[in-house]
């Protein structure tokens, strides 16, 4: 039975979906206030989640859920620990501000209600993903985030660029998700556990299995595509086609972190091996450098931020690959820091865009005086990007350097891979800092430049979120005791699978640590990058012009190739000649029936003919007359009706041998097929007569005989074996007591095999829709019926004109 706690925890993931259904209605009644009204949903989830903090910070876990497909041991289940709670708080907290922000940012947009619905659905998927315990639950929410992200990126669906970016994101993240599903299933097959929390007991054991590497690669495929790791990184910058609130929410703070979340979640189960360390460090490192470099190339504010997001994700993956205690602490701190400052920076970029009508950094300047609150948010955001002291990002940087400096400077020099790693992180951080400084200084300081819209400070809901996130980043960076107790220990411990006690320093001991001096070096390098940014950009652009190749273009080439391949295949099989279709089908059928019988040497002996009573003979005679009539019929109509005679004779046979239901149906089907065939015939404007050349008659007749003989032989072969009556007996015995029905056929249809029937009627209806579509395309548009379009292909017009 469900307890209240189970229900309320499941509601964390489900409530946003319910709210999404009502969002367009709320929009209609509240108009400008919609953002404020709807933000109650994420806010209440946030408040509810904070009630778990004391328990989780004390090292506890909360489990909830209900049985889903009990026969397969599947539960719709959730569990809360430090990691998932932090993610949940970030998602619902930032989500609250994003909903508010969207209210102002998209004010007056004619599809604003739809937008709210999408963003709430996304939030629900994301919350479900991070709290999911059951791996299938996890997968379902994982794919839901891909789908909602697709809807959000393609929100502006009249622009081709949005549609392309949306499809690209869906193909890449959805494809990765399918790979992940395979990995999760293999993991379950290996351990017998569907629950992630149940897998923790196998930490270390799974790594010794033969299937470890395939599982690892498949799960990494899911995580890497979702978190935009090189070489799947390119969808993320393209996803900036989405409205800015989406970029701030999905593509910086939450969805792209899902991959990092997955890696962190599976770190105790799959991590700690050489493969894990090498793969994550290399891919993460390349992504970090690639993203940071690409960010320098951009002049669009959102593109710059998007590329640094790619870099940050690479950094997180790399740190998970390093995987020692300090690295895990760095992951935790950097996760929070990045979610805060990058979310804030995206909102700042959106506000600037909203206020001036442009996002080109070269066209902006001196906005600080006009937009003081936005400036304040931007200063804190960039402080975070730079890892300045007094922000949590500072400690994140300290810890990531400490992770590689565990044996001091001399130890580092003895380990070339550590030296390389620290150099990569240092350069990556410095480049990102340079980009941050460029955004802050070029946009907000200097002389005011003319912009498409007269610049003005945005409303409260546009800058409040960014400011609060910034304040949070500072708070966690100053109140280090609080951060240690409530952030590092509860979050890092489940990732590391050991109790982690973070120790941060914000006093003079700082200067005794070698990592502090690496941070100083980062800042120096960052300022240099900022100082030379125009020069670097020019060079990078010249270089990429020479290279003239990108992963983006490769993706297009692959997709285009796929479309062309399927087009060629379709043309090959769908040549439009009906008689060839039928020929292929029947030849295939005859081969499928006869070849196995001959191959297996299962041809039945000639059956003994029993004496038939006269009425059975007469029915056979009727059938035979029907067939002969079909063959000698002078017009097609007569042939169709004659075929009906034969069908009725078969129905009579069913009746005689005790299958009244079957016979009944056969009668109706025969009647309707005669009617429909006759109608189709008049529609196709066929000749009255069916005239074929001799070769065709020979071919078709021969094939018909072969098929007929094949079926007959098959039936006789089936009758060689005694009928297995177990099912029939079971149905006969249970149909009245269990299903209250005397007609076993009907009971089977509607009760025992109800799911099959449900599938069948769905197919029947779908086929009906397809038939209607075919009729309408050919017929030059319907006179009645909604939703049908006039044909626009030239073939139909000319046909009509002729």
């Amino acid at each position: 039975m469900l307890s209240d706690l189970d229900i309320s925890i499941c509601l964390i993931a489900i409530a946003p979906f319910i709210a999404a259904i009502f969002a367009p209605v709320v929009q209609r009644f509240c108009a400008g206030m919609t953002g404020w009204v709807l933000s109650v949903v994420p806010l209440s989830i946030f408040v509810f989640l904070t009630s778990f903090i004391p328990e989780i910070a004390g090292g506890g876990f909360v489990y909830a859920g209900f049985d889903w497909v009990a026969s397969y041991g599947l539960r719709f289940s959730f569990f809360i620990d430090g990691l998932s709670l932090t993610f949940g708080l970030l998602i619902s907290g930032i989500g609250t501000f994003i909903v508010l922000y969207s209210g102002a940012y998209l004010e007056g947009h004619h599809h604003q209600g739809r937008f709210f619905a999408f963003i709430l659905m996304f939030m629900g998927s994301m919350l479900g993903l991070v709290f999911a315990d059951n791996m299938i639950t996890l997968f379902a929410f994982w794919e839901l985030t891909s789908i909602t992200s697709f809807l959000l990126i393609g929100f502006d669906n009249v622009r081709e660029a949005s549609r392309r970016a949306a499809i690209q994101a869906l193909v890449i993240t959805g494809g990765g998700g399918l790979a992940m599903l395979a990995g999760l299933i293999m993991l379950q097959q290996l351990s017998g556990q569907w629950n992630i929390s149940g897998l923790f007991q196998y930490a270390g054991v799974i790594a010794e299995q033969e299937l470890y590497l395939p599982i690892l690669l498949l799960i990494l495929a899911g995580a890497f595509t979702k978190s935009a790791q090189f070489p799947f990184h390119f969808w993320l910058p393209n996803a900036m086609e989405a409205p800015t609130p989406v970029s701030a929410f999905l593509h910086s703070a939450t969805m792209v972190k899902a991959g990092v979340y997955l890696l962190a979640r599976f770190n105790p189960i799959l991590g700690g091996t050489v493969e894990w360390g090498v793969i994550l460090s290399i891919f993460g490192g390349v992504t970090l450098l690639w993203g940071a470099t690409m960010a320098l190339k951009q002049t669009d504010l959102k593109q710059m931020l998007a590329q640094t997001t790619v870099a940050s994700l690479g950094l997180l993956v790399m740190l998970l690959g390093i995987g020692n205690e300090a690295a895990i602490i760095a992951v935790v701190l950097y996760l929070v820091a990045h979610a805060c400052y990058k979310g804030a920076m995206f909102m700042v970029a959106g506000s600037v865009d909203h206020a001036t009508g442009t996002r080109e950094i070269t066209a902006l300047g001196g906005l600080g005086r006009i937009m003081p609150f936005t400036l304040a948010a931007a200063i804190i955001g960039v402080a975070g990007m730079a890892g300045a002291p007094l922000t949590v990002a500072f400690f994140a940087k300290e810890e990531m350097y400490a992770a590689l400096l565990h044996d001091g400077l001399s130890g580092l020099l003895a380990q070339p891979q550590d030296l390389l790693a620290i150099a990569v992180i240092l350069v990556g951080n410095a480049l990102m800092m340079g980009v941050g400084l460029a955004i802050l200084i070029k946009v907000f300081f200097g002389t005011l430049k003319p912009t498409p819209v007269q610049p003005h400070e945005g409303s409260l809901s546009l800058w409040a979120g960014a400011l609060v996130l910034g304040v949070l980043a500072v708070f966690t960076g100053v109140a280090i005791g609080w951060t240690e107790q409530y952030l590092i220990t509860p979050v890092a411990s489940p990732i590391h699978n050991l109790l982690v006690n973070g120790q941060l320093y914000l006093d003079l001991t700082l200067f005794t640590k070698p990592q502090f001096y690496v941070s100083v070096l980062t800042w120096v390098l960052g300022v240099v990058v900022f100082w030379q940014i125009d020069e670097i950009r020019t060079r990078l652009r010249a270089f990429s012009r020479v290279l003239n190749w990108s992963f983006d273009a490769l993706f297009d080439w692959l997709m285009f190739g796929l479309v062309r391949l399927s087009d060629a295949l379709t043309r090959f099989w769908h040549h439009g000649r009906l008689e060839l279709y039928l020929l292929v089908v029947f030849v295939g059928f005859a081969a499928a029936v006869i070849i196995p019988l001959v191959w297996e040497n299962a041809l039945p002996p000639m059956p003994e003919l029993t004496a038939l009573p006269f009425y059975e003979w007469s029915i056979l005679l009727i059938a035979a007359i029907g067939l002969v009539a079909v063959l000698i019929a002078r017009t097609r109509l007569v042939a169709i009706v004659s075929l009906g005679i034969q069908g009725f004779a078969v129905a009579l046979i069913f009746l005689l041998f005790g299958a009244p239901d079957l016979s009944f149906t056969q009668f109706m089907v025969e009647t309707l097929s005669v009617i429909i065939l006759a109608l189709v015939m008049t529609r196709l404007h066929l000749d009255q007569r069916d005239s074929r050349i001799f070769q065709d008659v020979f071919r078709d007749g021969g094939l018909a005989v072969i098929c007929g003989v094949g079926v007959t032989v098959l039936m006789l072969a089936v009758l060689q074996n005694p009928l297995d009556m177990r099912l029939s007996d079971l149905f006969a015995a249970t149909s009245v007591p269990l299903a209250h029905g005397h007609n076993i056929v009907n009971v089977i249809l509607v009760d025992y095999r109800g799911l099959d029937t449900l599938g069948e009627i769905s197919v029947v209806m779908t086929a009906g829709i397809a038939i209607l579509a075919l009729i309408r395309i050919r017929g030059g548009g319907p006179q009645t019926g909604a939703g049908a379009k006039k044909p626009d292909s030239r073939g139909n017009r000319t046909e009509k004109a002729a």
Binding site: T665, L672, L749, L758, G768, L772
Partner: protein, 140 residues
């Protein structure tokens, strides 16, 4: 096809067929019949009526698009399976309530609604196809 005799007889014939189809549908659980065959009979009735009096008339008489009837049928069947949620049993579990009225027992069950859904799905789909085909013939 529009002979006077046919056009006069058709409405009567169609009425009988529709009533018969409902009869076949409802008795299906215990005697030969059921939703599928009932739907086929009703669809033939619609097709017949279309041939007799023209598609426009039939569409007016039906009031809703035949495909909507089919959609309603599939929906009804699915919902009859979902009732089981309330009783915490698997999807599509048959649920039965038997009322006593005078001396007869009247059984109301989820399989019955399921079968009614099948009836509408088959009726709607075939009627839609048949009417669309007949429509073209009218235009000629």
């Amino acid at each position: 096809m529009k002979t006077v005799i046919f056009r006069t007889i058709a409405p009567v014939l169609v009425a009988i067929m529709v009533v018969f189809s409902v009869f076949v549908l409802l008795r299906g659980h215990n005697e030969p019949g059921g939703g599928f065959i009932g739907g086929l009979i009703a669809a033939s009735a619609v097709a017949l009526y279309g041939i007799a009096v023209g598609v426009e008339e039939v569409r007016k008489a039906l009031r809703v698009d035949p495909l909507a009837i089919a959609g309603f049928g599939v929906l009804l069947s699915s919902l009859s399976g979902l009732v089981s949620i309330a009783y915490q049993v698997p999807f599509l579990t048959g649920l039965w309530t038997i009322f006593h009225f005078e001396n007869t027992e009247i059984a109301v069950s989820s399989p019955m609604f399921f079968d009614i859904g099948v009836y509408f799905a088959v009726l709607g789909t075939l009627a839609a196809v048949a009417l669309a085909l007949e429509e073209d013939e009218d235009q000629k």
